[in-house]
């Protein structure tokens, strides 16, 4: 193995094995709600490697749930507008129009909603044909049911502390309690949700008196690009480049 394309796989693997407690990001919670197939399964790659104690904060858990709820809401909003305002015409035109509608009206999570629309094309084609209200409602119920799986799974995860510990003691606003650390992280990170995740992890470490903690994330741009600077501020917390590790090891073998 060794270093390749900027990923020191031995170093990343050592990080995973050296830490018995992992503080996990929302993207892993979302990925974990799927029994992944072999393709692009960075989440499965991580969860199959070992059994550390998994911890996250209430804030991160809420973020994961909020993402699923936002995807469901946006998909349903698209369904309503297709039923009310779109005409069934050329199929390619219809789906181009739906994608444009998504780009125009939503700020984020556009790709997942488009992915759902593509997955369920027949439903959106039916909606564009001015179906009776009952049929529109049936399709909307189908959409709701498709999003139940992750929401149920997240609810179950949060209930069972043997699978996932949720740190509920972290302050809502870290600025007053960890002012120096807060400012340092704020200077490094543009994504404020990610800054707060690291502060939650730090709070967990301080309050429980642990001697180390690994932050596990699939987000390279916000955590890994500035990892050295972040770790020097957060010492002894370490961050693992899961996506890089996955791409260099498991993905290459598929």
């Amino acid at each position: 193995m060794g270093q390749s394309r900027g990923v020191d796989t031995e170093r990343e693997l050592a990080r995973l094995e050296d830490h018995s407690r992992h503080f996990i990001d929302a993207n892993l919670l979302i990925g974990f709600s799927v029994e992944w197939d072999q393709q692009n399964s960075a989440s499965k790659f991580y969860f199959n490697r070992g059994s550390p104690a998994y911890i996250t904060s209430e804030r991160v858990y809420e973020e994961a749930r909020g993402v699923v709820e936002q995807c469901r809401r946006q998909t349903l909003q698209v369904a309503t507008h297709v039923a009310m305002e779109f005409d069934s015409g050329l199929e390619s035109q219809l789906f181009d129009d739906i994608h444009r509608f998504i780009d125009l009206h939503f700020d984020d999570l556009k790709s997942p909603v488009k992915e759902y629309v593509e997955y369920n094309r027949p439903a959106f084609r039916t909606l564009s044909g001015d179906p009776p209200e009952q049929e529109t409602d049936r399709i909307k119920s189908e959409i709701r049911d498709d999003y139940k799986t992750p929401l149920r799974f997240l609810a179950k995860l949060c209930h069972d502390s043997d699978i996932l510990g949720i740190w509920t003691e972290a302050p809502t606003d870290h600025e007053d309690i960890y002012d120096g650390l807060y400012e340092s992280l704020d200077d490094i990170m543009t994504n404020k949700d990610d800054r707060d995740l690291l502060l939650d992890a730090h709070d967990f470490l301080v309050v429980t008196g642990r001697d180390g903690l690994l932050v596990a994330t699939l987000d390279r741009s916000d955590f890994i690009d500035d990892r050295e600077a972040l770790e020097s501020v957060l010492d002894p917390i370490e961050i693992v480049d899961l996506l890089g590790l996955y791409r260099e090891t498991a993905a290459g073998q598929e």
Partner: protein, 304 residues
């Protein structure tokens, strides 16, 4: 000549309405808002009376400050007599005649308004089916499809669910689903939309399981739906009011933020009670390859 005050115009029109009121009929303040809203709809945009009734949408439909002020003034000046009952203040005709507003140069506008008003009163449903009038003639103009969906579907469905000896949780779950699908797309409602989606998730979790056996949680869910409507209306007020209400906007926005924050706390409390009652323990399999959520989740992860 200075511009007439909207509340003076509204006072004059309230006098006309009460004068035309059929025998034994009565009005509540909300009826005054509705009748003047219907009047505004009928008048040309450049009619002075129409211009001077600045409506915004709130919990019970379109309202205007002019009617709030004029209905008080009508009682004070004996243009109206009032009676209190359980539903609110009833307005009946009083002994005094309201002064004609100082719009001499626009007398034609006032006459046109008076004529239209007589016709509206003639067709107004004083005795029954006021909700139908509200739905068909007024809420058809609502700026957001979410408004009639909640007012005429979700709120009554929740009430029926709580009152019914054989409640049908699936029907109520469908009502929540329809309401979520009609949430506004405007960014200004994004905070409310997130909390409402959270309510939908909790409601579905409750309704999919043994909701029928938990009357206290049913009642709590009903209160949450009513709170959601109030919180939405607080935002709606700011979004639909024009410049006439510029002085009130800041306070309204503060109130809306505050009510949203209280709503979020109430949702936390409801979630906690659902957990304590065992609603989070239900088995939940993961999505498998090819299922919709697997595809959506893959897309979310690749966005990182």
């Amino acid at each position: 000549m200075s511009e007439p005050d909207p509340s003076d115009i509204a006072l004059y029109l309230i006098g006309e309405i009460l004068d035309d009121l059929p025998d034994d009929a009565h009005l509540y303040q909300m009826d005054l808002h509705k009748i003047l809203y219907l009047l505004q709809k009928r008048l040309d945009d450049d009619n002075l009376v129409a211009e001077k009734l600045p409506f915004y949408w709130y919990r019970h439909g379109p309202v205007t400050q002019a009617v709030f002020e004029a209905s008080e003034s009508a009682t004070r000046r004996d243009v109206a007599q009032t009676e209190q009952n359980e539903q609110g203040t009833r307005y009946l005709q009083g002994p005094a005649t309201p002064p004609s507003p100082s719009i001499d140069t626009h007398q034609a506008a006032l006459s046109e308004a008076s004529d239209e008003l007589s016709e509206i009163i003639e067709n107004y449903r004083f005795y029954q089916q006021r909700d139908r009038l509200l739905e068909e003639d007024i809420y058809s103009d609502a700026p957001y499809a979410f408004q009639p969906e909640v007012k005429f579907n979700l709120l009554p469905a929740t009430q029926t669910f709580v009152d019914n000896e054989r409640p049908e949780p699936e029907r109520l779950a469908d009502s929540f689903n329809r309401a979520e699908s009609k949430l506004p797309l405007d960014d200004s409602f994004s905070g409310f939309n997130s909390e409402f989606s959270r309510l939908v998730t909790l409601a579905e979790m409750f309704l999919d399981d043994d909701a029928v056996a938990h009357p206290l949680l049913q009642a709590e869910l009903q209160e949450l739906v009513e709170t959601a409507w109030r919180v939405f209306s607080d935002h709606l007020q700011s979004e639909t009011a024009d410049d006439y209400y510029a002085d009130s906007q800041q306070q309204w926005e503060r109130n809306a933020q505050q009510s949203l924050s209280v709503f979020a706390q109430e949702l936390n409390a409801f979630e906690q009670r659902l957990k304590e009652a065992g609603f989070f323990e239900r088995d939940a399999p993961r999505a498998t390859e090819g299922e919709s959520w697997a595809r959506v989740a893959e897309s979310i992860l690749s966005e990182n």
